[in-house]
Amino acid sequence: MFNLIYYELFKTYAKWRTYIGFIAVGLIIPLIMWGMHLQAGHNFVQYQLRSLQSDFLITGNLFNGWSISQIIMNSLWVHVPFLISLVAGDQLAGEATAGTFRLILIRPVSRTRVLVSKYSATLLYTASLLMTIAVLSLGLGLMIFGSGDLLAVDRDMLTVLPEVHLWSRFLLAYSLAIWSMWVIASLAFLFSSFVENAIGPIISTMTVVIGLLIISNLPVESFEPVKPYLFTTYQDVWQQAFKEPVNWSRIAESCGVLGAYSAVFFSMTWYIFKRKDILS
C-alpha cells in the first residue's frame, strides 16, 4: 500500500500542474507582504480599532508577523480551493485522458487500493500546499514585521492573544484549515471520477464552492434553513483557533460535519470508480 501511495505521490509531483499551486502562493504571499510593508500597517490596525468604542490600551507592536499570517489565511479563501481542484480534479480524469488506466488497472491490484492510494496522494498534496502557505506567511511575516501579541477581533469583542500561545494557536488553525480543505479536495476527486478530462472537475468544483460559499455567507432569511447542511458553512472552522477561550465543542462539531462530507464524497467516488468501464 505504501508503495502504491509513494508512486501516486511520485506521479503527482512529477507533473507540472502540481507546481502551479506552489508558484501561485509563492508569488501572492510575498506580494501581500510587500504591499503591507509599504502601508507600514498602521492604517489597517487603525481601521480595525475604529470599530471599537472602548478606549483600549495597547502595548507593543500589534501589527506583526502573526497578524499578517492571519490576514493571509483570510484572503486566500477562494484561491486555495482552485489550486486544490487543479490537482485533485486531475487525479482520475488525467489518467483517463492519458489512457494510462489501461496500464495500471489491468494489474493485480484492486481498484479500491488504487483509489485509496490516489486519494491519499490528493490529501497529502492539499496538506503540503497549506503547509507551504503556513511556512511562507509565518516565516516571511515574522521576518519582516517581527513578533508580538495577536489582536483578535470577534464581532464586538476584542481579545489580545499573548505571543507565547501563538505557535500552538497557528498550529491548530492550519490543522483545521487542512481538514476543511480536504472536503474541497474530496469533491474535486469525486468530479474527477465522472469524466475523462480535468477541466470539467475543476470548473464544477469551483462552481459548487463559490455558489455554496455565497449561500452560506449571505444574510438572507430564506437561506437560513439550508445553511446548517452546507459544508461551506463550516469551512471557516480554523478561525475558532483564535477565539478566547477556544470553543472546542464548536470545533468538534464543525470537524465532524466536514469529515462526514469528505467521507461521503469519497464513498461516492469509490462506488462509481469500482463499477466504471474503462473506455479511454
Partner: protein, 305 residues
C-alpha cells in the same frame, strides 16, 4: 488436447450504452503454451473482448476465468500472472521509460522492481539505450515496444497483446513477431494476440479464433482451420467467359469471380472432380486448378456475409 486451460471465456458478451451487442456469446479456450491468434476485422470486438479479459470493463453477460480463478470474484488471483497491452500504447509521457516500468512493475510485484529486471526487459525490445528519456520523446513504434517490455517485466505466464504490430513498419512487425515466437519458445509464455492481419496470425499462431461482428465464427488449430472443407481455388480454363458461366451455374461452386489471373471460386474439396468433369464435357480446356489455402481466403469467406 489435455493441456491445461489457462484462459477461458464463457458466453462472454458486452453491450455498450446502445443495446447492440458489441461482443456476444464468445467462448474461448486458450491452453498453456499456445500462441493464440484472435483474428477479426475492424470493429469486430477484439479490443472489447480483451478489455473484459483484463478487467477494464465489466461483461454484460458471461464470465472470464484465468488459471481457474473467476475474474469477477477473484480478480487479484486471476490477474496475478497475466500482463498485456490494450489498444494503443499509452504511458505517463512526462516520465521516463524506466519510471513507467517501475510504476507498472510495482503494481504487480507489490514492491519496486529491481533495476536489472527493468533493464533486461528494455534490452529485450531494444530500448535499453533510451531508458531514461521521457516517453514523450518516443515514436509510436518505440511506445509499442515499451508496451511489450512493461508487459514482460514481471515474467507473466500469459501475455495478452492487442494488435501489437499495428502502426509498425515491416521491419518492426517482423521483430515483434520474432519476439513473440521467442517468448513462447524460450520463456514458455502463453500468448493471446489479436490482429486483423491474416498473415500475421498464420505466421506466428498455433491456435486461433475468428471473430466477426461480435461473434466467434471459428476456433481451432491454425492447421485444422486451413484444412477445412471449404477451399478456395484458382482455376485457369479456356475459354474464360464460358468457363465462368458454367461455374456460376453449378450448385457446388460459389463465390465465382473472374480476375485478371484466372477464375477464383470456392469449391468443396470433394466436389473438385465433378467440376473438372463438367468443364471438360463442355469442351473447356483446364490448365490448372490451384488451391488457395491461405488464411486470407478463408477469413474473407467466413467474415463476408
Amino acid at each position: 488436447m489435455s493441456a491445461e486451460v489457462v484462459l477461458r471465456t464463457i458466453a462472454l458478451g458486452k453491450q455498450y450504452k446502445s443495446k447492440r451487442w458489441a461482443v456476444q456469446d464468445v467462448n474461448l479456450e486458450i491452453h498453456r503454451g499456445d500462441i493464440f491468434g484472435f483474428l477479426g476485422p475492424n470493429g469486430a470486438g477484439k479490443s472489447t473482448t480483451i478489455r473484459m479479459i483484463l478487467s477494464l470493463i465489466a461483461p454484460t453477460a458471461g464470465s472470464v476465468e484465468l488459471f481457474g480463478h473467476q475474474l469477477s470474484t477473484e480478480r487479484e488471483a486471476a490477474l496475478a500472472k497475466v500482463a498485456g497491452i490494450v489498444e494503443k500504447p499509452d504511458f505517463y509521457l512526462y516520465l521516463s521509460a524506466f519510471r513507467n516500468m517501475q510504476i507498472t512493475g510495482a503494481m504487480t510485484l507489490g514492491k519496486t522492481p529491481l533495476r536489472t529486471m527493468i533493464m533486461d526487459s528494455l534490452q529485450l525490445v531494444g530500448l535499453a539505450g533510451r531508458a531514461f528519456d521521457r516517453v514523450k520523446t518516443f515514436s509510436h513504434g518505440m511506445k509499442q515496444r515499451l508496451g511489450i517490455a512493461q508487459a514482460l517485466l514481471c515474467k507473466p505466464e500469459v501475455i495478452v497483446l492487442d494488435e501489437p504490430t499495428s502502426g509498425l513498419d515491416p521491419q518492426g512487425m517482423k521483430e515483434v513477431r520474432e519476439l513473440i515466437a521467442r517468448l513462447s519458445r524460450e520463456h514458455k509464455m502463453t500468448v493471446f494476440l489479436s490482429s486483423h492481419l491474416l498473415n500475421e496470425v498464420e505466421q506466428v499462431a498455433t491456435r486461433m479464433a475468428i471473430i466477426s461482428k461480435g461473434k466467434l465464427v471459428a476456433q481451432g488449430s491454425v492447421e485444422e482451420l486451413l484444412r477445412s472443407k471449404i477451399s478456395s481455388v484458382k482455376i485457369l480454363s479456356e475459354p474464360v467467359k464460358r468457363s465462368t458461366a458454367i461455374l456460376k451455374k453449378m450448385k457446388s461452386v460459389s463465390n465465382v469471380v473472374l480476375n485478371g489471373d484466372g477464375i477464383s471460386a470456392t469449391i468443396e474439396k470433394s466436389d473438385i472432380p465433378k467440376v473438372v468433369k463438367t468443364l471438360t464435357a463442355a469442351e473447356c480446356k483446364i490448365y490448372s486448378i490451384v488451391p488457395q489455402q491461405s488464411l486470407e481466403e478463408y477469413f474473407l469467406s467466413v467474415t463476408e456475409e
